[in-house]
Homo-oligomer: 355 residues x 4
Amino acid sequence: MATKVRAQLVGATGYGGLGILELLLGHPNFEISALIARDDAGRRIDHVYPHLTGRCEMVVQGPDDAEIGKDCDVVIFATPDRVSQGYAADLTSRGVRFIDYSGDYRFGNTEDYARYADRHPSIKESTHTTPDLLSSAVYGVSELNAAAIAEAPIVGNPGCFAIGIVLGMAPLYAEGIIQDGTVIVDGLTGSSGAGKKPAPTQHFSHLNDNVIPYRVLNHQHVVETEFTLGRIGESTAATVDFIPHLLGTTRGILNTMHATLTRPTSRATLMERYRSFFAGHPFVRVLDEPPTLKGTLGSNYIDLSVFTAEGDRRITVMSSIDNLMKGQSGSAMQNLNIMFGLPQTTGLDRGPLYP
Amino acid sequence: MATKVRAQLVGATGYGGLGILELLLGHPNFEISALIARDDAGRRIDHVYPHLTGRCEMVVQGPDDAEIGKDCDVVIFATPDRVSQGYAADLTSRGVRFIDYSGDYRFGNTEDYARYADRHPSIKESTHTTPDLLSSAVYGVSELNAAAIAEAPIVGNPGCFAIGIVLGMAPLYAEGIIQDGTVIVDGLTGSSGAGKKPAPTQHFSHLNDNVIPYRVLNHQHVVETEFTLGRIGESTAATVDFIPHLLGTTRGILNTMHATLTRPTSRATLMERYRSFFAGHPFVRVLDEPPTLKGTLGSNYIDLSVFTAEGDRRITVMSSIDNLMKGQSGSAMQNLNIMFGLPQTTGLDRGPLYP
Amino acid sequence: MATKVRAQLVGATGYGGLGILELLLGHPNFEISALIARDDAGRRIDHVYPHLTGRCEMVVQGPDDAEIGKDCDVVIFATPDRVSQGYAADLTSRGVRFIDYSGDYRFGNTEDYARYADRHPSIKESTHTTPDLLSSAVYGVSELNAAAIAEAPIVGNPGCFAIGIVLGMAPLYAEGIIQDGTVIVDGLTGSSGAGKKPAPTQHFSHLNDNVIPYRVLNHQHVVETEFTLGRIGESTAATVDFIPHLLGTTRGILNTMHATLTRPTSRATLMERYRSFFAGHPFVRVLDEPPTLKGTLGSNYIDLSVFTAEGDRRITVMSSIDNLMKGQSGSAMQNLNIMFGLPQTTGLDRGPLYP
Amino acid sequence: MATKVRAQLVGATGYGGLGILELLLGHPNFEISALIARDDAGRRIDHVYPHLTGRCEMVVQGPDDAEIGKDCDVVIFATPDRVSQGYAADLTSRGVRFIDYSGDYRFGNTEDYARYADRHPSIKESTHTTPDLLSSAVYGVSELNAAAIAEAPIVGNPGCFAIGIVLGMAPLYAEGIIQDGTVIVDGLTGSSGAGKKPAPTQHFSHLNDNVIPYRVLNHQHVVETEFTLGRIGESTAATVDFIPHLLGTTRGILNTMHATLTRPTSRATLMERYRSFFAGHPFVRVLDEPPTLKGTLGSNYIDLSVFTAEGDRRITVMSSIDNLMKGQSGSAMQNLNIMFGLPQTTGLDRGPLYP
């Protein structure tokens, strides 16, 4: 590739923006055309984040000072819900592709989007403003939708909890052996998924050494999870009971997933099917031992394992990801590689930070 | 009470021994007759634990230097499995009551003990050495068995995970509305339940910021949980799928429990039944919001809440305890109060340490 | 004591207010006449802090709804700087004693207060509004000023860093062996000293696993430290270079203090003098080993140790406290006991929470 | 470079071995000829460290099964003290260069080594077994000794505390403005410097939320610090009072260093001199704000800042490093690059992991 892909980053100063910025800085085939954000506009990004000293001196531009979609091959919206909707029509009409971190373009139809919006605390009951563009957007789980992502004008980057559940359960739905209505997931997440804005729940003295269940049985990521799993294989519907738990740690999501099988299947058989399902996917690792939260820290891996009980009729699947990597910017980078015809691992080949 | 109850503490230098020692030191009606332990015998307990400086200067005696059960009203075995079995016949024949922290006297029969031993990594396939004493032992969940505990020669103090699950599910089993075979529990625990002995899993660099699932679907505490829940109300059997997760925090257990109900029941109704079931029990708090791990830290409380989903047919119950208090020494103190006719809260009325 | 001391608590919903509330709830000789706070006025305190469920159901009153100083024997201002100044004249004229958590009444003169205010980020360059009352206020280090505290109409509760440094260095200043201008202190603090208000520095994702030095050589607590040490023994001045470091932990302050002695003195001699200086003071523990942060957690202890180097001419003193106990509400409770003629340990005799 | 440098790694299964293994795996110009270790010999390295799954499947060889120094261009001893001494004569005689992580080859003479050994808990009073080789070893602070490292047959990789102090104070010693006998350092370290072997001090329940001062004024790293600083510029001696503090965090060292200057120098002047001293050194960052522990996490940076007090006569310097990177394997990699004529940043250009 002679010339580099020019990426414009909107929402550059949040944790999502920071994550993709760092990946782009280390990527041989991308360059950043502009950093755009409402907060900290006018400041150098290494003054906003001192750990970037010596690595990037770009100045953050306000959304009014920079034209979204100008002078770039792709726009990355690391922004809250309903931001990219405001630019989507203009961008697609000009032929500028984009990837969005929010729920704006994860659903192919307005009904599912409405279900999602209804559960989302900050956009409750909103309706989609560009319903006609939903069908041209692809849900960005690289392992499931690579061909479509490669061509898509719009990619909806998955939710952090969702990707861990979707990849964890996909082989079982593909096999058609999940008894409907039996899926239960306890999700454990570090604090960084909530972003950099101070809030009582994220206050150190409150969260340190704590576990805080929240949005019990009512988290918005369930919608895209059910939507996606329900379309895999011969399934037609999927129901997921999901309870997120906020942990006193910074990074990582560990999902523990339970289900009843329609026919008894041994652990050995299931492990073999998982390995076969994910063969050739460089970021999925099927482990003999239970995955640990720190086993994927800082990397784009998703670690999986499967266990069975009660005569191999009940199963427990666990998945571990770094919520800011595979759960966010790592997946975005993987999708961007796919969108521009690069190997999925380019710029992403770093191992977990351990210990 | 004119004279104080004299308690002999065996296993005094582990975390379990430390916990009950501290409670006894602050208790108006108990005094400690001897501290006995294999480790650190001959040392002052405040040299073993410098945070006790100024609070206790007793010297730890080795098990060979002190006679178990001599000069005391009760023996507290804060010891590993199979230690108290060796003294039980002698103690009961001499009329000395005891309470044991291990699984030795949690089961009324040898079959359930064998199931337990089979799952326990360090006593695998052991058989009970005093089967005839099992029927005179009471399982020490204070809220369920107070009358029997008051008279019991032997009390088997509950396992830390077990008590959180048992109390969390008891009202539902009493009501008879749990569909059998549907109970799934994800348990989250701090590190202190594993005791003070250094081990790779408990090594700081490994555990910090980590979540480590272990003994997936095979933890020994399930046996007493099923045994106990199965005998509540009109139930005859209970099955629990249980996955423990070790967290990078020191104290606390949060159990998230799932089940399907035999008949739809609203959250309001369930909450009311929980409050009524636990009325008069000073350490059980039924909360409107999900309990948090830190909400019980350092106290003997168990915090509970119930949520429903899918037309009130699926429920999620959460319970939070301090694993070293309600999950161990706090329950032991509560049981000792009951055994000696004292109010359950004596010496236990301290609030959680927050923040 | 037949009747209880009635205490009115202003600033009831911050961490400082919470700390003294919990101590008062467990105190046999105090009762709370009112909880007053600007934030959360109108809410039950156990709804603000769910961990208080079952322990206190009082409703927080707004400062406009409750008369400060009415119907009580003492007012406790757990409030920011410059709040108690507004009520001081009225209270003292009515003969109502009060204790204040801020720097308002820590200094006997306006010059030192001005130095303090000048360094304090939120009250920069303020002047004292009741300069005539400063001479009737006592700086509340219980171990140094008990007699004066017992009679004082106003007690200025010490700053959290200051009390650890003052008590750590007091025996050396009393001995007159500190070479002036040589005192250097590195202070390490948990996050809770900054209170419950969310802020970027206290944001979990930023602070977790971090150490953040701040206000380097410019922290306001230095003023009361120098003021107090400079008046001990035959000293006339004290200078302290102080660097606070914020740690990713919730509670505790560990100060490591360095100085050059005017004459070589062995560690053994110094330890003996520390023990003799603090004889009869129940909350000061002089340890052979270095104190640890967690060794005082949740208790009112201050743990100290002294080491020497370079021919016994250089010394290092370390002190550990729980910043919310001995560093704040514990000291306040100790001072209140002294003010009302009670043993210093009443309501404060709880050991550290370990592990 | 057509062919890759072949590196043999001894002590491959400790944290030090793991660190350099991961760097070598991602390095374009190195390849690993063998992994050698006493522990876990015969196991695949990704079975020892599951987070390496998919990244390295090499089998660890026991020290008896593999010949040290065979079939390689360089040997990396990530081993405890006194291991490399046993192979040094053989390796140098065969012309095989090596780098050693311990104190074995940090000193150019036996006297300083003896001072070091005397302070080191595990090698107390040992004498060096290859005194004649000491003069051909270079102390591996890349920023100070690059020319010598490039040619050295033996490189003694610096101690983790030492490198942060040496680089932090070097510009001042070069300037000749440190008043001798005034340097005091409080060092804060994460747990990983103690390695992977479980121990009471590293036990999670003990260390979590704790600060534990240790080897007060007696840490062995002081010897190489004084040795090195004393030889910079026109200095002839350096004395450092050093107090290490173990923190409840995994990675990172923050040193807070104090000294008195021989002549007043403003902060602005000092900062300018630091920037000039380290110009061209890619891993040294001089920051306007105090460095934070997490600001260097996972990277090879050392972040520095300088502050002055008392009429610019007293200074405080702070440095932050990742103890396993710049404090160990990162420096080793940097030295290896220098030894083999590669740019210092090759294989090391990764930014800190934040948040």
